[in-house]
Each structure stands twice: as C-alpha cells, then as structure tokens.
Symmetry: C2
Subunit: 345 residues, 2 copies
DNA sequence: CTTAGCACTCCTTTCCTATGAGTGCTAAAC
DNA sequence: GTTTAGCACTCATAGGAAAGGAGTGCTAAG
C-alpha cells in the first residue's frame, strides 16, 4: 500500500530532523514546518507507527524513524542531491593530494573515504584467485645472489634479492630461469608445488633448494594477490556521535571494525551503490548500524570496493552523494590513467 | 635524598595496587599487607605526599602515585620479572604465526606488540635518508613496454611494468639501461633530478620522457624509503580502561594516535628500552599517558622501533618484560634469518 | 616511633521531587 | 470526515537533600 503524500512528507521530515539532531522528533516541530496543527501530525504519527515506519523510544517521547522508515526514505524520499562545488573540490583535492603523494590510492581508499564522509570506512581489495605467474626473470648480482623478478598475469611485477649457497654463473642462471618459465608459469599455487615435487629428483639438492625458494616466493605473491583484503579506517570517528557516547557500545563496534573486518558486508552483485540499513545487515554487530557500499572500476575488469559504516541515523544523502562522486572519480582516474598505477604496494 | 626502606615498600605497594585496581589506595589496605597499623601508613603517606611521590585525588581519598612516584617505581622498585613460560610461548606463537603468514613482520610489529601487551602500540620504520639506487635493470616485455627493476643501496629490490610511447628494441633498451646505470646510480633524489635536466638536451623528447618516468619511479622509491613511517594499532584498546571511560578523553587520545602519530616519541639514543611517564612526554596530548619504547636490530646496523602507549597507570612490569622479549626475539630472528627478509612491503 | 581513637571531609549513592516535552484522546470546529 | 483545541497523563531528565562510607589528619597514649 502506498502512503499518502503528507505521510511521506512527515516521514521525510522526521528522518531529516533526526539525522541532524539525534533526538526524537516531536509533533510541534513538524507542525510549524508543514503548516498544520500538532494534533494532525500526532494522528499521522500514530498511523506511521502502526505501519512500522516510525518508532517511539518511550511513551511520551517524540518519534524516531524505524529501519523500515529509513528504507523508504532512502528508496523514495531522499533527494539525491548533487555535491556543492566546494564539496566536489574538497574531494578532488583529497584525491589529488594522495594520488601524487603515495603509491596506492587503492590501499588508501578507505582512509580517503573516511575523511570525505566523516564516518568509519573500509576498502576491500578483492582477491584475484585465478592469478598465475606469467614470467620469471633472474638477474645476476654477484656469485651467490641474484634478483628474482616475477610478473603475474595481471601485469604486476614483484622482485626480491635472493641469496644462495650455490655459485651461479650466467649459464646456470639461464638454465634455472628456463626451468622456471617452462614449468612454473601459468600454474596455480597448488600446481606449482606439485610440479616442484616432480622436478625435485632431476636436480641436485642445492639447486632444488634455490628453485623451491623462488617458487615459494612466487607462491607467496599469488597467495597475497588471491587474498581478499579488507582495511578499516577512521573507526574512532564514531566517538563523536551521540549514539556512541556509551563507551561499551563504541568499543563493541570498534573492535568489530578492527578485528572482524572480514565480516563487513561485501555485496556480490555489481550495483554501483548499495545501502544496508540496520537489521538488513546479517552480522549481529552491525544491527544498529548502516553501511553504504560503492564499487569502482580499477580497469582490467576488476572492481574495487569501499564502504562506509555509521549509525542508522546516518546522513544518507551526503554519504551517498560523496561516495558516488568518489567512486566515479576513481573509476575515471583508472580509466584514463595511461598506465594504471602498477606501483607495488 | 634516599627514601627509607619502608617508604619504598609502601610506594611500591601503592603503585602496584593502583595499577591493578585503578582506584586510590587507602591506608587500611596496606596496613594489613605490611603488618603495621593504618595510622603508621598514613604518616608515611603524608610524607610521601610532601616528597611528591604520591598524590591525593581529594582530601578524603586514598593515595595515587604521582608521575615521580611511577618514575621511582620503574627505576628502582619494580621487579623486572621474567616471563612465565606461558607468556613466552604466547609471544613466540604470535611471532611464528605472523612470520610465516605475512611478508613483513616489520610492518606488523605494532599490531603484534599491541596484541601482546594489550595496549595501543606503534611501530616506526626509520627512514633511510642517504639511500641511493645501486643498480637499474630493464627487462623487455613487448615492443612498447619493459620492466624496470631497481635495486637500492640497502639491497631492496622494487620493480614496475612501464609502458612507453616508443618502440624499444634490445639495443635501445640496453642504451637506456646504460644511461641509467652510469648517470643515476649512487645519487640522491635531488642529484637525480638535476642530472635529468643535464641530459635532457642530448635526448629525443620521447626518450627523455621514458627516462624521466624511470627516474621518477626511482626517486619515488628513495623518497618512500627515506620517509619515517609510523603506524599505530590497537588504539581502541583504551576503551576497556577505566581512565578512558570518558568518551571525550578516549577520543582525544585516539585521534592523536591516529592523526598525529608522527609526533609519537622516537628517542634517538640507542637504549634498548625506554619509558616515558606522563609529563615526561613532550607532547601535550600524552601528558597523562606513559609510553614504553623498545628498539630491535633489523640487521645492516638498522634499528626498528616499537612503542606502547597507555595510561600512566600502565602495568610497567608486564609491558617491559613482554616488550623486551619481543624486541629480543625480533633481533634474534633478523640476526639468524639467513637472508634477512628482503620481501617487498 | 607506633597506634588507637575520633572528628571531619567529601565522594558516591539513593531517593525524592519538580519540570517539561511530548503524547493520546475527546469533543468541538471547519 | 478531517482538522484542531484542550486536557489529563506519561516518563525521561535534572536538581537537591540525605544517608552512607571510605579515608583522612590529628591528638594523645602506649
């Protein structure tokens, strides 16, 4: 069933007042605003309560939006405002500063978002599970050490100095490199270690040791690339919010954000922006919080993910606007950025 | 002037009770413990107050150690206990787990320490300012891209895929590599950019662009290696401590730990363990906190640094014991670790 | 020098009482 | 039939008084 226009207006007003003040909204406040008497508002309040859009903290208090109320607000009532030029400029500024300053925007995405929206935030590096090594290179350094360079299928390059017990002349190194490139490229971690066993008998123990070191290094790279990494930042921002004046509540959420970050919601579908309100979160610890998640394009068809966590009384309009803008900016940056930052993390 | 033995005992007892309970210690408590009457204790209390080792929150409350009291406790009174086997095992366990699991123990040092001592902690990666590039390597990938490998003076290796507008055959690449190795090794960032200007005229603009990209990449590496990095972890742990039941106080410290981490104390001298108590901290924000800092040997004569932050009522005995053990373990690990972990961060 | 005794301080807790914002309901007005 | 004025009622919050109690400082005796 559809709410009357006035009910919607009232709900919208309640949500917005409550977001701004964190205090239950009374009928008088809205009476002035909507040009009807407080009694009328009260009647509407009562109905909105029955319908489950509003709640009363206690009998003689004002009204507070229920999760369902927020949901309707977010879906239909909220004005999807654009950023003010100042806001946009601020975000651009933040992005520019960090982009040139540090290697990875990606690893800082959470931090950036948190400072942009002023709520705790998290960023997810989705694991690239099918990744394999595309190429091995070995560069001689001195008699007993060489540089291992590994390029993975996603064109990332990692390298490491490797000391050995063996002496390597150019020819032996070339042999080793050949061995690596013929037998250990295009293989998963499991396949690599299986293969390592296969060749173990054809090699001297010393050479085998060197080889397995290199392969382990490669496996480590694949493993870390395959791992889904979640980083949270700005958790302490909740301490400024009235809902977390209670230290225990704050502590609970903060430890969750830090220790259980893997359980933060990561929607699988590709919606550019997703909002989870209160009990819509599966995780018990997020039942009175809302999460806004945006995804952005990293290039190579890969997607990055950033989320914002806050009380259900979150400023959805601002957060969604800013987060969308941020995600779009990032997508643009990766789209046009000539060589996408292959900088090592 | 030297305190009487009994005064020391009393001070010690007060400190230890207060550390355990966070509540002012009364004369009765200690009377039982020391086998004298509460009146005697009170007399001693009064004198210890006059001498500045104890304080009274208010006239009719028990006594609390003053910073000076903690200082004496730490310097003379505290029993530098050894770890219980369980504690040692726990730390070893933590170290082992993280060591094999992740690349850098270093970057996780703060986190490890925080979990070991149960206070917020930080780790400092001291900047290597005089670092230069030791060697450039370029590995052809396809016509218009190659891998840049850079080994720095400290034997760390970083690499990146570089796309160019130019076509590079093996000979040109070798030329470029030569140019890099003859003119841009052993140079500081400033010298590198100066040199870049010098050679700019002898090259085609396209080639110059490629060269400068590579040099910029190198400069970036040196810059990040030269930067002193501080990371804090476990800040939320303060929320369990009675002194931070007050959200505003907690918030103040937490934002300091996160946003001003560069201002966390980094002693220059090489003491293996240093303790800063309350007002001994220069920074205003740390005036009611204590900081315990340990340094450990990374090899190559470099030192790592980890610090623990907590209320002045910190459990110094446990923290120092565990932190020392941790630092020693790390030193040992780096000492014997055959090739010290040159893993890229 | 130690200790029992005692008056005193002052924090903490508890209980009580306004206060007041806000409600639900009824009955009149539009 | 919706809107509104009026009114009794609810209940969280703030303020203040009183009680309780832990701990003190001081004095005088052991």
């Amino acid at each position: 069933m559809e709410l009357s226009e006035r009910k919607k207006q009232i709900l919208k007003a309640v949500v917005e007042h409550y977001i701004a003040s964190a205090e239950p909204v009374g009928s008088k406040t809205l009476a002035q605003e909507l040009g009807v008497s407080s009694a009328t508002i009260r009647n509407e309040f009562a109905e909105l309560c029955d319908l489950g859009f509003l709640e009363q903290p206690h009998t003689s208090a004002g009204r507070v939006p229920s999760p369902q109320g927020y949901r309707l607000y977010v879906n239909e009532l909220m004005e999807r405002r654009n950023l003010t030029p100042q806001e946009a400029e601020g975000i651009d500024e933040t992005l520019r500063g960090k982009l040139s300053g540090m290697g990875g925007v990606l690893s800082n995405a959470g931090q950036l978002v948190s400072s942009i929206v002023n709520y705790p935030a998290y960023s997810v590096k989705s694991g690239n599970v099918g990744l394999t090594v595309e190429r091995f290179e070995l560069i001689p350094v001195d008699a007993t050490s060489f540089i291992t360079v590994i390029m993975t299928g996603d064109k990332n390059v990692k390298s490491q100095l490797q000391h050995t017990a063996l002496e390597f002349d150019a020819a032996r190194l070339a042999d080793l490199k050949n061995l690596l490139n013929t037998h250990f490229t295009g293989k998963s971690r499991a396949e690599m270690s299986a293969h390592l066993m296969n060749v173990s008998e054809q090699l001297t123990p010393e050479l085998f040791l060197v080889l397995s070191r290199t392969v382990e290094y490669a496996a480590g790279i694949l493993e870390s690339a395959g791992r889904r990494d979640v980083e949270t930042t700005g958790a302490s921002r909740i301490l400024t919010m009235p809902e977390y004046r209670d230290v225990d509540k704050a502590h609970e959420l903060m430890t969750f954000l830090v220790d259980n970050k893997e359980n933060l919601p990561v929607p699988e579908d590709g919606a550019p922006l997703q909002i989870l309100i209160g009990p819509e979160n599966v995780d018990e610890a997020l039942r009175d919080t809302s999460v806004v998640i945006a995804s952005y394009d990293i290039g190579d068809g890969m997607r990055g993910l950033v989320g914002v966590v806050g009380p259900t009384r979150m400023d959805y309009a601002t957060v969604t606007a800013r987060l969308s803008y941020f995600a779009e900016s990032l997508t643009k940056m990766f789209g046009k950025g000539l060589p996408p930052p292959k900088e090592e993390k």
